[in-house]
């Protein structure tokens, strides 16, 4: 653990990513306690107020301006980050659990189970992820729960493929063979012996998937298929603000900056984790 943090501090990009991610997570967690204006209550007197930095600490200040209903953009971005990060985290966990378990099963049993599963992965890969997501959201209807399901559905196969490959190699190792020899059951071998050994690659994939899922969540919300109003979500803010692009540039600019910074920091952290733990994963996406 100590060498892990030493390596992190040595890598400037990784440290930068780690610090930014920490700041964003803290900002999301603390958003309701920062004394910001309500993200959903409209204030028609202050519609489309431009960003002002004078008197920034006074209660009525809007450092990033207000939107078409007079809602504070900064407050909406921070509250939006709670929803965005929660959805992304839930999808990553759901997709990660399903994908990792299926990967272990396929790699351990091999044979027909493995072949069927890998064909399913191939078929799903033949459908661009965005189209699959659109198709499923159109079928299930837009809601937060369905959004999480759809995002997890686009994500599980990355885990399944890579974990399967790792398990194929692991199952021939001595510690697995000896577990067999002392009569450990299949279930016990998969959970107690294989799972801990694939947690590291799963964590690396999860970090990189988190970045991809944040962008996809924003795209689906942008198309009106994600979190429903009045809850602020970054993609939705971009879609609503786009209408006012010629009069109020800030409404459509700052949520995008928030997405870029978040994705960038998660990517930097993920790239560093990958290079630190297992550079071979680079070619396996």
């Amino acid at each position: 653990m100590k060498s892990f943090f030493l390596a992190l501090i040595k890598s400037r990009a990784g440290l930068f990513g780690f610090l930014l991610v920490t700041v964003f997570v803290l900002a999301a967690l603390l958003a309701p306690y920062l004394g910001l204006p309500s993200p959903t209550r409209s204030n028609l007197v202050a519609r489309m107020a431009a960003p002002t930095w004078t008197g920034i600490f006074s209660p009525g200040a809007h450092p990033l301006g207000t939107d078409e209903l007079g809602r504070d953009v900064l407050s909406r971005i921070l509250h939006g980050s709670r929803i965005t990060l929660a959805i992304a985290a839930a999808s990553v966990v759901l997709g990660g659990i399903v994908g990792t378990l299926l990967g272990i099963v396929a790699g351990y049993y091999r044979g027909i189970v493995d072949r069927v599963l890998m064909r399913v992965v191939d078929i799903q890969l033949a459908l661009p992820l965005m189209l699959l997501a659109l198709l499923v959201v159109a079928a299930l209807g837009p809601s937060t729960r369905n959004l999480i399901i759809v995002l997890a559905l686009t994500s599980w196969l990355r885990y399944a493929r890579i974990i399967r490959g790792q398990v194929l190699a692991l199952r021939e190792r001595e510690f697995i063979l000896s577990a067999h020899a002392i009569g450990a059951g299949t279930w016990r071998i998969m959970i107690k012996h294989l799972l801990p050994n694939v947690m590291t690659p799963a964590l690396v994939i999860a970090t990189l998937e988190l970045a991809r899922i944040i962008i996809m969540d924003a795209a689906l919300s942008f198309l009106g298929l994600g979190v429903q109003p009045p809850n602020p979500s970054w993609g939705r803010m971009l879609a609503d603000g786009r209408v006012y692009i010629s009069t109020a540039w800030w409404i459509v600019t700052f949520p995008g900056v928030a997405i870029v910074l978040t994705v960038l920091s998660v990517n930097l952290l993920g790239d560093w984790l990958r290079d630190y733990f297992d550079p071979k994963l680079r070619t396996m996406r």
């Binding site: 064909r119 399913v120 191939d122 078929i123 799903q124 033949a126 459908l127 661009p128 992820l129 965005m130 189209l131 699959l132 659109l134 198709l135 499923v136 159109a138 079928a139 299930l140 970045a211 962008i215 924003a218 795209a219 942008f222 198309l223 298929l225 971009l238 786009r242 692009i245 010629s246 540039w249 459509v252 600019t253 949520p255 995008g256 997405i259 870029v260 910074l261 994705v263 960038l264 990517n267 930097l268 680079r282 070619t283």
Partner: protein, 305 residues
């Protein structure tokens, strides 16, 4: 080669079958087409008549087999909205989507390849740093937001280019540029790391040691092998461009397949959604087949496996 080709063809056929199956079963979740077809307030008898006419009262497996064959023939039924074959509506818009995706793929690949090569060859210089920071930012930027920002700068503020629509080359510039940034960012990063890996190989040192020109070593020994993962990446990107066309065509009001699918989703015009998704998936499968074949040409070891 023929065995490799046959395996790849069989895999593509299986993938097309799988996509058509997904489309069929998702469309059954989407709702009863008969209810959507009749005007509001129609009697249950009218609905039943249409159900029988469309074969919707048959067992689900029989419906599946019938749909499978008609979908493979390209028959996805009539658009609820426009009353003509759904596939025709989608096919009409395909050239525009292909033009945009093709432009982005061409320019994005060239820019990405040049930047990636510069970053690898000028290791540790300012040039590498700039390319890598730009590529990281490019990968972290959602294409639709980049598109909106470019509209804000070049169309709204400067007024040089149109905000959306299609027709002249000027309409192609902003969406093409937006997607090129996305394409080139991925390619530059991958080509750089791939070149750096290959440059460390023993056979490259051998090639240099026997006195070959640096140019020969780079193009014949390094670049050729470093391109193999890039070719795979181009295939994946082609799929993301086709899938992402829904988003970017909405931003730029570009009249392509993506916008047709998006409008069909809003109007619940399911035959058009299915036709659009199936067409894009089919193109993507063919592109990946070509990528696999090209892969076999670039790397003869693959063919013999």
């Amino acid at each position: 080669m023929s065995r490799y080709l046959l395996v790849k063809l069989a895999e593509s056929a299986l993938a097309i079958w799988g996509v058509v199956t997904i489309v069929f079963f998702v469309s059954r979740v989407l709702g009863d087409p008969a209810v959507l077809l009749v005007p509001v307030g129609a009697s249950q008898q009218d609905i039943d008549t249409i159900r029988t006419a469309l074969g919707l009262d048959r067992p689900i497996l029989e419906q599946y087999v019938v749909s499978l064959f008609s979908m493979l023939r390209g028959d996805f039924g009539m658009s609820f909205q426009q009353g003509r074959p759904a596939m025709d509506i989608v096919l009409e818009r395909m050239p525009d989507t292909a033009l945009l995706a093709g432009t982005a793929l061409l320019f994005g690949s060239i820019i990405g390849a040049v930047c990636g090569a510069i970053a690898a060859l000028k290791r540790g210089t300012v040039a590498e740093f700039i390319v890598m920071v730009a590529a990281l930012l490019g990968q972290a930027t959602p294409v639709f937001w980049l598109g909106i920002m470019l509209i804000l700068i070049f169309a709204v503020d400067l007024g040089w280019l149109p905000t959306g629509g299609a027709g002249t080359w000027a309409h192609l510039v902003l969406p093409g540029l937006t997607l090129s940034v996305f394409v080139s960012a991925s390619i530059a990063r991958l080509l750089r790391s791939s070149l750096l890996d290959i440059m460390r190989e023993d056979y490259v040192r051998t090639a240099r040691a026997k006195g070959l020109l640096p140019r020969t070593v780079f193009f014949w020994h390094i670049a050729r092998n470093a391109l193999i993962p890039v070719v795979t990446m181009v295939g994946i990107i082609a799929g993301e461009l086709l899938g992402g066309s829904v988003v970017i065509e909405t931003v730029f009001a570009w009249p392509g397949v993506g916008r047709v699918i998006m409008q069909a989703i809003q109007n619940q015009d399911f035959p058009v959604i299915q036709a659009g998704v199936a067409l894009i998936a089919a193109i993507f499968i063919v592109v990946n087949l070509l990528v696999d074949l090209l892969y076999g040409v670039l790397d003869p070891r693959i063919r013999r496996r």
